[in-house]
């Protein structure tokens, strides 16, 4: 390994590369382009993944929404076309009986006139349990979300979104602790949350305690829909089937009835998306590595020509006592050096590309590529691949160089 720190080794590499600047540069372009592509593509793929994650970030993605519709088949004396109404007890039974359930969140919604002073509007009002905050994280800007105490005491409190605040309050006015009228009843504002990128249903305007909702709107046991989240290791599609079967059983609905319950399986859709992302990442690696290999072959090709041109010089060196190993080593070092320099330049310019992508497409809340980046580990892997490929490709011209007998090499003109 001593030769790696010898000035002469590098002098030789420097000389042989600078003697043919244009050729060296053209050679390096191949590898440089390959690694640039790899970094750029991987970074973009990561950016896309990040932006999806940001979109779904506050959301339990392994989840399904289920609501009642009207039956499509007659069963047990009931005619088809009967309205199906989910109830709180359905939700509780699902949570108790279906395997792999993490949470079942029953929800209600209605639209009501909301008044604050002289300002008013009609907004969606949700009746919710504190659990909602676990499956669909609210970004609280002020105050808090509904808690168990509010549920137990049927408190008349409300959590509003930022956009409601803007519509009902003067600029910079204090909202927490203020009262607004919903359906003619005063509710105390206890919190305000930032608008979501993704809401899973109608736009989230304001949340009041579930029990308060039951009372105010005279809902009794009825619920609008429920959100079922599964534990990460369970298949959400199976959970959906199990839950629906149980619901049909509880509500006297034919087991084959496909129309009775509507559902939206977020987990399934999300799975498609992540599958697409994985595919894209595979493609990125494939394209990047293939380009890299092409670049490395270009280096091998050029070195082969160089060696041919230097036949006589190599002959002289051997006459002066250079062993074949020393000649080979020199050429391999050249190959590795040139690949490594080209690779490092590629990594640096790849970084610039990612910075540019971030500037152009990575700013603001609606960015298509969020934090487009490549991990250091991947960069190291790419470098190691480069060193290995450089060594392997350098061996070809190296063996070519020493395959000529010194006597023939010296005769070469």
């Amino acid at each position: 390994m001593k030769f790696l720190f010898d000035r002469d080794t590098w002098q030789e590499v420097y000389d042989s590369l600078t003697k043919n600047k244009l050729r060296s540069i053209l050679t390096m372009v191949g590898v440089w382009w390959g690694i640039l592509l790899l970094i750029g593509l991987l970074g973009s793929a990561r950016g896309l993944e990040n932006s999806f994650n940001r979109l779904f970030g506050s959301f339990a993605t392994n989840s399904v929404f289920v609501w009642g519709q009207s039956t499509g088949m007659p069963f047990k004396g009931f005619q088809e076309g009967r309205q199906v109404q989910l109830s709180l007890s359905d939700a509780i039974k699902i949570e108790e009986n279906v395997e792999g359930i993490e949470f079942v969140v029953p929800r209600n919604i209605t639209r009501s006139l909301v008044v604050h002073g002289f300002l008013s509007g009609t907004f969606g009002v949700y009746g919710d349990y504190p659990l909602l905050d676990q499956v669909q994280k609210k970004k609280m800007q002020y105050g808090r979300f509904i808690n168990q105490n509010d549920i137990d005491d049927n408190k008349k409190v409300v959590v509003i979104s930022e956009s409601i605040y803007k519509q009902l309050f003067e600029k910079d006015a204090e909202a927490i602790g203020e009262y607004i009228q919903i359906n003619g009843i005063n509710f105390k504002i206890i919190g305000m949350f930032a608008n979501d990128n993704m809401s899973g249903g109608p736009r989230a305007d304001m949340h009041i305690p579930f029990t308060t909702f039951q009372q105010v709107y005279n809902q009794g046991d009825r619920i609008g829909w429920m959100m079922i989240t599964g534990k990460p290791e369970f298949d959400i599609r199976q959970l959906e089937r199990d839950a629906k079967l149980l619901l049909k059983n509880l509500n006297n609905i034919h087991p084959e009835d496909k129309r009775a319950f509507g559902s939206f399986n977020l987990g399934k859709e999300f799975g498609k998306l992540t599958g697409f992302l994985t595919g894209m990442q595979f493609l990125t690696w494939f394209v990047g590595i293939a380009t890299l290999i092409a670049g490395v072959f270009a280096i091998g090709n050029i070195l082969l020509i160089t060696v041919k041109e230097r036949t006589k010089e190599i002959g002289v060196r051997r006459a002066l006592g250079a062993t074949p190993f020393e000649i080979k080593r020199q050429i391999v070092v050249e190959a590795v050096f040139i690949t490594l320099v080209a690779g490092l330049l590629g990594i640096i310019s790849g970084g610039w590309i990612l910075i540019l992508i971030d500037k152009l497409a990575g700013q603001g809340p609606d960015a298509t590529l969020v934090n487009a980046s490549v991990s250091i580990a991947i960069v190291f892997v790419a470098l190691i691949i480069l060193i290995i490929l450089g060594t392997l490709i350098g061996l070809i011209p190296a063996f070519k160089a020493t395959s000529v007998k010194p006597i023939d090499a010296l005769r070469e003109e």
């Binding site: 002469d8 006589k312 051997r318 002066l320 006592g321 074949p324 007998k405 010296l410």
Partner: protein
């Protein structure tokens, strides 16, 4: 110092083969200065290449400084060349992107000496050939005679037992040739054993012994009275 017995060498040409050396017997003592003469195709270069371990004989024995030279691997040959031999070529064969001093230091590099030591020795040998001031110049900035002197310094750098010169004056004009020969003679005066191939009669007369080759055999092997090159300069 050097002993060759019944040396044969032939080169394959298509299906047949060309018998170049047909049983050469030659022995050279230490301190001799031998010219190998002959027309082209007489086998003189082949003989020099075999002595220089750049080529291998088909038959016969070759002993250099009591070391039998046979069954050489490339690596062994490289080590022997480095240790025993110094080469001077007709076309100088300097490495054109290296300065004079770097060229001279090259054999020492392959001996594994450190840079400081190499440069020091190379400068000493450049001084001997009178080119100390040209140490930092590239070969294409030197005249033909200067180039050959750098090549001689390079051949001397590793302090070899035997100097092999293949038409050392072949690419030089008469005056420069005589300068180079004068220098080679002074090396011989200091005790270096020198073997050179030439086809110029006046250059051969400046050696102490002339071996004439024809069609792969030694026709004549005579000691001559050395003509001092300084007489011509």
């Amino acid at each position: 110092m050097l002993k060759i017995e019944k040396l044969h060498k032939s080169y394959p040409i298509g299906d047949s083969s060309l018998h170049v050396l047909k049983g050469i017997d030659l022995s050279v003592e230490e301190g001799e200065m031998v010219a190998i003469m002959g027309s082209s195709g007489s086998g003189k270069s082949t003989l020099l290449n075999i002595i220089g371990m750049l080529d291998e004989a088909d038959e016969g024995s070759y002993t250099l400084d009591n070391v039998p030279i046979k069954d050489l691997t490339e690596k062994k040959a490289a080590v022997y060349r480095n240790k025993f031999l110094g080469f001077i070529f007709q076309s100088f064969n300097l490495i054109n992107y290296k300065t004079a001093v770097e060229n001279v230091a090259l054999p020492l590099y392959y001996q594994g000496q450190n840079r400081k030591e190499r440069i020091e020795k190379a400068m000493f040998h450049l001084g001997k050939v009178g080119l100390r001031d040209w140490a930092k110049h590239l070969p294409n900035e030197l005249s033909g005679g200067q180039k050959q002197r750098v090549a001689i310094a390079r051949a001397l750098a590793a302090n070899p037992k035997l100097l092999l010169a293949d038409e050392p004056t072949g690419a030089l004009d008469t005056t420069t040739s005589h300068e180079i020969m004068e220098f080679i003679q002074s090396l011989n005066d200091e005790g270096k054993t020198i073997l050179m191939v030439t086809h110029e009669e006046d250059i051969a007369q400046m050696c102490k012994r002339i071996v004439r080759l024809k069609d792969g055999v030694i026709m004549e092997d005579t000691k001559v009275t050395q003509v001092r090159a300084s007489a011509h300069v």
